[in-house]
Amino acid sequence: MPSLGADMDAGRLLEWYVKPGDPVKRGDIVALVDTDKAAIEVEIFEDGVVGELLVPPGEKVPVGTVLATVLPPGSVVEAAPADGGASFEAAAATPPSYQPPPQAVPTPPLTAAAAPAASSEAAATAAALGERPMATPAARSHARALGIDLGAVTGTGRHGVITCQDVDAAARATEAAVATEAGAATDAGAATEAGAAAEAPTAKAPAVPGPPPAPAPHAPAALGPAATATVHTHVRASPLARRLAAELGVELTSMAGTGPGGAVTQEDVREATTREKAAPPRAAAAAAAPTTPAGAATAARPEDARYAAMRRAIAAAMSKSKREIPHYYLSLPVDMTQPLAWLEEANLQRAVTERILPAVLVLKATALAARDVPDVNGFYLENGFQPSEAVHLGVGISLRQGGLIAPAIHDADRKDLDALMADLRDLVKRTRNLQLRSSELSDATMTTTNLGDQGVESVYGIIYPPQVALVGYGRILERPWAENGMLAVRKQMLITLAGDHRASDGHRGGLFLSAIERHLQHPEEL
């Protein structure tokens, strides 16, 4: 289960798009996973052949759980269907054995599934089972140094062997999960105590948020399924519902619509599918984990529950950021008169479908500036700041029903304005439809937010960990502008930077903002 953002600690596998024996290429979409924020298409990260699917549809598993094994390209998978089926059944019959600890102490990694490993992929399966996982010696010592439990690490080496890279990836995921998990563990602990004090700890325990999560700097991967909401629902436009229904093989006619005018929403489809396909595991999980405090959330309206889950996810990531990242803030008013005039002229020559928004100019200038001043582009991890060669610009996109998602435009520095515009349109559309891909949610190297459309003059953002910078754009306003001893009225935009002082200093941050301004003054080169 990949970490699809700093605010994710678990995900529910909705659907496999591949089966054992299927050849796969890096970047192929292999599964659909539901997070607190959206249903995400998960891409595979290497070429090969699907070995075994270890997590059945409908199951919610913590970040770091092995979802499937991938064999080297050209491998032949034997008797896969029977194996796969058997292990799914076993997994379904054996719910996670995780129990919330009475206090918020580090917990062992989740025993994801107690299915006996019958196939040749025993090693990789064993990793998921919490037995001694296969790892390179270097990875083993690296994991020890970082406090990462190998049992929770997904191996991507040959035959699922865990490599140093995997440990790094897990470290990032854990780093991200710890904040959420600390909160969740607190919740779980509180619920358990409440249950002990009162009566049987049933799933009806109120979803009272615990106190603000305490910093948990070096807790090992406590990736239990603890108190995350059993939320799997949200509203969608009906075309999407239709698409999902087709994909999942559910009859739209068999469900009652809860959308506007009684339309069947994607939520309805999801609801029906979950009932149909995943009833046994869910029932078992519910029986095994009666203290899940957020279980009460299922009683609320689905869109409310989805929104509540998203708020919790945002709360966890932003609290972590403010707790750990020493922010510094800079702002620079940029004269947009000339770039906008250039753009208006360019758009006149274009068909309405090819028009480019000012936001795209600004994004491109920002991406180029990130290349000029790499101190603000990358991740801050246990071993310090890791600049990124690639510039994947996260774009904060608000959802009209509330909440926020910041998926990435990949390689924004290398795309021309047309490609960026197409990407932005596509990303906004898919975000609003809650239809994103895993890489878009996990690998932004820097995030941007544009509140100009709301009339806001400036925005000083909170960095999305483990990133080290957040760039904010305000509204473009006409302002008196003095230059060369003359006063004129110019169109001005306030660009701001929230920088991580561990990774860069104000001086470098200032250079970065100046670089954005410089690039914007040469729109024809963007």
Partner: protein
Amino acid sequence: MKAPIASESEMRDLVVELLSHVAPETDANGIDPDVSIQDQLDIDSIDFLNFIMAVHEKTGIDVPERDYTKVATLNDCVRYLAGKAG
């Protein structure tokens, strides 16, 4: 160019329909016709461009950027488009 829009009321129906496509979570039918569409439906510049593109697709009318202020409210928008169509 698609079928010509005969009347302002037809144009109004079309605009409302296109807006409800752009912002499906909102009730485009219920908007105040004299208040900014963007403010009422909480649509951003991308949504607005999608709306302008949908208008173009359905009516063949191209609203240049400099005329965006003339289509800011429902009444203005209907008047502007009906004028262009007629």
